[in-house]
Symmetry: C2
Subunit: 117 residues, 2 copies
DNA sequence: GGCTTCCCATATGACATCTATGGGAAGGAG
DNA sequence: CTCCTTCCCATAGATGTCATATGGGAAGCC
């Protein structure tokens, strides 16, 4: 069983939006998806997830309604809005640029051609 | 001139340690290095950098002493400790694992083989 | 009826980063 | 030698995200 890693701040929103890509899902389902999909390396606590969902909804990235879960519990189902879907791709793009810069600088020294002073 | 991006939390420490890889450098020099090496895309504010340097020193990752800058100003020169050097590589490794997981999940769906429910 | 499970929710705290501000010390202009 | 600018360090306050701790409501089971 691989140990789990703390989330890097700023990445949770993208993960949530990705979890909702296919169909409306309730909070516990999002957490479950994250756990399964990363083989348990990335987990989100309830106290982290629910505020994040409310933030995303307040910003119009997702919307929600009450429903019943597969196990007959009252559950709030979230789904992506068009705005959220679009925002996901722009965020992903920014993230990938950042990672690329980090990779070059940290691993290979520079993004340009500086060395030493 | 490319616009600059906000730092992702948790990445500044690695960038600082990387900046100090070759020789002792003062705070302003670290900021300058970061700007040059990323072609201006990654910048660090003074109010962010100096507390970060003090945190790293408190944790024994770097150590410092007063000196004179190239321009004859009083400057505090920081250098890596062996502990800091080692820690850099473990952090880099963790970061790369995280990025790899994110990449697979966000871009290609899963790290395993889940889809839908 | 009491216990457990499922799902939602908030309060509280920790912490990194940004913004704003200021100070000391050296150099240059006049 | 005085004023102004530049260089470098430093901290206070605000912001925002994530972790921890806690609890509650509702369904199902014994």
């Amino acid at each position: 069983m691989p140990e789990s890693t703390a989330l890097v701040k700023g990445t949770l929103d993208m993960l949530i939006l990705r979890a909702l890509r296919w169909e409306p899902t309730h909070g516990a389902g999002v957490a479950e998806w994250m756990r399964l999909v990363t083989n348990g390396t990335l987990r989100v606590e309830e106290g982290t997830l629910y505020p994040a969902l409310r933030r995303l909804e307040a910003r119009g990235m997702i919307e929600s309604e009450w429903g019943a879960s597969e196990r007959h519990r009252k559950a709030r189902y979230y789904q992506l809005t068009p705005k959220g879907r679009e925002w996901f791709w722009t965020e992903l793009d920014k993230w990938e640029r950042y990672v690329d810069t980090m990779n070059r600088v940290l691993r290979y020294g520079t993004a340009g051609s500086i060395r030493g002073r």
